[in-house]
C-alpha cells in the first residue's frame, strides 16, 4: 500500500517512475525502453555527439540488447554514471544493464552481487611516458610521479605492481581523463597510467602523438564486460547471448550487409539458428525468433562495431589484438548456438 501511495504521488509529479521487480524483461517491455548505464564520457566507448545521440563501443552493446528485446536500437535511455555511482545505479534498479567498461573481478561478481554476462573488450593497464624521458620499461620508473584516474581498479593494480617490483612511486590521483591529460602534458607527472585502450585514445588526441610512447608492460588483466544484477538469470541470459550473437556473427561471417540475404536461409545450421530460421532459440529466451538478427543489424557484428568505434580506421586506432576471434589468434570464443 505504502509503495503505491508513494508511486501515486510520483505519478502525480509526472516524473518517470518505475518498479524494479524480479522480471527485468517485463519491466523493459512495459517501459518500452532499455535503461542502460554508460560512462559520462569515454573516448570511443561512449560519448554524446552534437545532436545528443550517444555513440561508441559500449553504447553499441546497449543498442544491440535494445534491438533484441524491443526491436528498436534507439529505444535506449542512456544513464550516465560515474565510477562511484555505477554499481548503486545497477543494484537499485535504476538501470537494467551496465555497459561501462567495467572490469570483471571476483569481488564485484561475488561480493557486490552482480552478474557479468561476458567480455566485450579484453583490456589491460599500461603506461604512457614522453619519449624524451628515455624510459623503455615500467620497471625503470623508480621514484616517478604517476597520474592515475581514481574510482577504478587502476589504483589497486598500480599499488600492487610497484610493491611487487619493490620500487617507489608518487601517485597523483585525478578525477577525470581531461585533467589527467592536462597534467601529463604539462609534465606534472612522468607517467600516465590507465587501460591500454584509454592510453591509445589519449595519445591520439595529442598534438604530437609521436613524442609519447606506450610502454610494453601490461600490468593487469582488465576484462571489460556488461553486467546485470544478481537474481534475474533470464535477463542475464538475454544480455549474455546478445553479446555472444554479435561475436558469433563475426565468426560466422554474418555482417549487416549480408544479413538479409543470409536470413533467407543458408546451409549452415548455426547461422540459421542464430537468425531464427531454424530452431526455437528466441523462444527459449522469451523473445521472438528474429532477436539476434535485429541485434546484429543494430550496429553490425562485433567486428563491424569495433571498426566503426575504436578500430584502426578511427582516430583512436586500436588494433584487434586480444580482441580478435579465436580463429585469428584472439580470445573471442563464443559458446555454440545450439
Amino acid at each position: 500500500m505504502k509503495k503505491s501511495v508513494f508511486l501515486g504521488a510520483l505519478t502525480v509529479a509526472g516524473l518517470a517512475a518505475g518498479v524494479a521487480g524480479a522480471a527485468t524483461l517485463d519491466d523493459v517491455k512495459a517501459r518500452g525502453a532499455l535503461n542502460c548505464g554508460v560512462t559520462t564520457g569515454l573516448v570511443g566507448f561512449a560519448a554524446p555527439d552534437a545532436n545528443g545521440n550517444w555513440d561508441g563501443f559500449d553504447v553499441g552493446v546497449c543498442r544491440a540488447v535494445a534491438a533484441a528485446v524491443l526491436g528498436d536500437p534507439m529505444a535506449v535511455n542512456f544513464v550516465p554514471t560515474t565510477g562511484q555511482t555505477r554499481f548503486t545505479a545497477l543494484a537499485s534498479g535504476e538501470i537494467d544493464l551496465l555497459a561501462r567498461n567495467t572490469t570483471w573481478t571476483f569481488s564485484r561478481d561475488v561480493d557486490l552481487k552482480f552478474e557479468f554476462v561476458g567480455i566485450n573488450y579484453y583490456d589491460g593497464q599500461g603506461f604512457m611516458v614522453p619519449k624524451s624521458l628515455g624510459v623503455s620499461s615500467a620497471k625503470e620508473l623508480d621514484g616517478a610521479t604517476v597520474c592515475i584516474q581514481t574510482g577504478t581498479t587502476t589504483e589497486l593494480n598500480l599499488a600492487d605492481f610497484f610493491r611487487v617490483n619493490n620500487i617507489s612511486y608518487e601517485p597523483v590521483p585525478i578525477e577525470t581523463n581531461a585533467e589527467a591529460q592536462q597534467q601529463y602534458l604539462a609534465g606534472a607527472c612522468d607517467v600516465y597510467t590507465t587501460d591500454a585502450s584509454g592510453l591509445a585514445a589519449t595519445r591520439a588526441s595529442f598534438e604530437n602523438p609521436g613524442d609519447h610512447v606506450v610502454l610494453p608492460e601490461i600490468i593487469s588483466k582488465e576484462p571489460l564486460g556488461p553486467l546485470v544484477r544478481h537474481g534475474d538469470p533470464e535477463w542475464g541470459d538475454i544480455a549474455r547471448w546478445t553479446l555472444n550473437a554479435l561475436i558469433a556473427a563475426e565468426e560466422l561471417g554474418i555482417t549487416s550487409a549480408n544479413i538479409e540475404e543470409l536470413s533467407a536461409g543458408t546451409n549452415n545450421p548455426e547461422i540459421n539458428r542464430i537468425l531464427g530460421t531454424e530452431g526455437e532459440l528466441g523462444a527459449m529466451l522469451g523473445l521472438d525468433a528474429e532477436w539476434a538478427k535485429r541485434a546484429i543489424m543494430a550496429g553490425g557484428n562485433y567486428g563491424e562495431l569495433f571498426e566503426k568505434t575504436i578500430g584502426e580506421n578511427t582516430p583512436i586506432g586500436l588494433a584487434r589484438g586480444l580482441n580478435a576471434q579465436w580463429t585469428d589468434g584472439g580470445l573471442l570464443y563464443t559458446p555454440p548456438f545450439r
Binding site: 505504502k2 509503495k3 501511495v5 508513494f6 508511486l7 501515486g8 504521488a9 510520483l10 505519478t11 502525480v12 509529479a13 509526472g14 516524473l15 518517470a16 517512475a17 518505475g18 518498479v19 524494479a20 521487480g21 560512462t39 559520462t40 564520457g41 569515454l42 573516448v43 570511443g44 561512449a46 560519448a47 554524446p48 555527439d49 552534437a50 545532436n51 545528443g52 535511455n77 542512456f78 544513464v79 550516465p80 554514471t81 560515474t82 562511484q84 555511482t85 548503486t88 545505479a89 537499485s92 534498479g93 535504476e94 577525470t176 581523463n177 581531461a178 591529460q181 592536462q182 585514445a201 589519449t202 591520439a204 588526441s205 595529442f206 598534438e207 578511427t314 582516430p315 583512436i316
Partner: protein
Amino acid sequence: MANTTETAFVRKEMLGAKEPPLTETGIVKWARENLFSGWLNSILTVLSILFVYWVLAHILPWMLGGIWDASSLTECRAIRDEIYGPDASVACWAVLTERWNQLLFGFYPSEAYWRPVLALVLFGVAVTPVLFSGIPRVFYALTAVAPFICYWLLWGGTIWGPIFVALGFVLGWIAFGVVSKAAGSLAGTIAAIIVPVLYWLFLDAPITGALGAAMPIGLEYIPSKDFGGFMLAFIIGITGIILSLPLGVLLALGRQSDLFIINKTSVIFIEVIRGVPLIVWLFTASLLLNYFLPPGTNFDLMLRVIIMVTLFAAAYMAEVIRGGLAALPKGQYEGADSLGLDYWQSMRLIILPQALKISIPGIVNTFIGLFKDTTLVVFIGLLDPIGLSNAIRATTDWNGVYWELFIFIGLLFFICCFSMSRYSQFLERKLRTDHR
C-alpha cells in the same frame, strides 16, 4: 541726483573664474588624488598596472586570435598552423559554436528550445511582484499558476496533468474555507490537507487519463534524462529554492517554538543538514536514498537530487528566515497578541509577511549559493555544464579541448550570479533606508 554718471569705475561684468592650475584639474588632478597620493600608493598603482598588463598580454592574444569555425580540434590546429604558424597558441572557440546548445540545454530537442526559454521568461515575470514593489496585486495570480505552466512547458505531456494537480490545491483551499466555518480552524486545516491528498490519490489520475484520451491537448513529452547544461542548473536551483521556502518557514518557526520536541527536532534537522557538505548529501541521494524508501521504489536521479537539494536549501532558508523573524521589533508580536489573534493567525497576517520581506536579500543570496553548488552534481553523473564539458571532451572530435569550455561556463555563471547579487544588494540598500 543728476551726478550719478560721475561715479567712479564700477565693474559691470564679473571676470570669469581663472583656469585652475594644470595639476589641479581634469585627469591630472584625478590621477594625483586617486592613483599617486603617496609613495606607497604610487608603488601600488604601478605594480597593479603592470599586473593587469601582464595578465592581459598573456590572455588577450590567445582569446582574440581564437578560431571560431572548425569541426574538430584537429581542424582547429590545422587552421591555426595555416594562419599563425605551428608554435602559436590560440583558442579554439569552434567547440562552442558547435556545442553551445548542449552546454545550455543538454540533450533537449532543439526544436523545443523555445519551451525552456519561455518557462524562464514566465518565471521571471512571475517573481517580479515578489521581488519589486509597486506592481499590481493581480500579478500574484500569475505567480500562483506559473509553477504549473513552467512544469508543463519543460516536461511537456498532456496539459490536463498540471491543471488537475493545481485543482487539488484549489480543493484544499475550498475545503479549508467550508470546514473551518462549520467546525473550527483545526478541523479546517486537517480537511485542507486530507481532501487534496485523497483527490490526488484516487481522482486525479483517472480524470487526467480520461480527459487526456478525450481531448489530447499537450506538448511532446520530454524525459528528464534529456535535461542538461545550464537548464539543469537552473531547474535544480529554482525548484530547490521554491520548494524549500515553505519547509524553511516551518523549520524557522519550529526553531523559535516553545514546544520542546518540535524545537529540538527543528534544531537537530537544521544543524545536521548544515554541518555536512552538499556533496555528501548528493552522494546520499545517489547512493543511499533507495535504501530508505520502500523496497522496489525507484525514481529518476534528477528527482532524487531535487529532493535532497530541497532539504538542504530548507535548512539554510530556515536560518535566513529566522534572521528575518528576529529582526522584527517585539512590538509586532505583542501587537498581534493584543489583538487576540491566535498563533497561526498572527504568523500569517502580521509576522511572516514582514519577516519574509526583509529576508528576501538573504533568500536571493541562498539562491546564488545553491545555483553555484549545482555544479557538484557532476560527481554523481548528472550532465550539468561541467559534466557536459567532460562528455564533449569524450568525443574524438574535441578530445583535448580544455580552457575554452571552462571559460564559457565560468562566464555564464558569472553573468547570472553577478546580476542576482547586484539585485540583492539593491534590495538591501532599499530595505535599509526604509528602517532608518
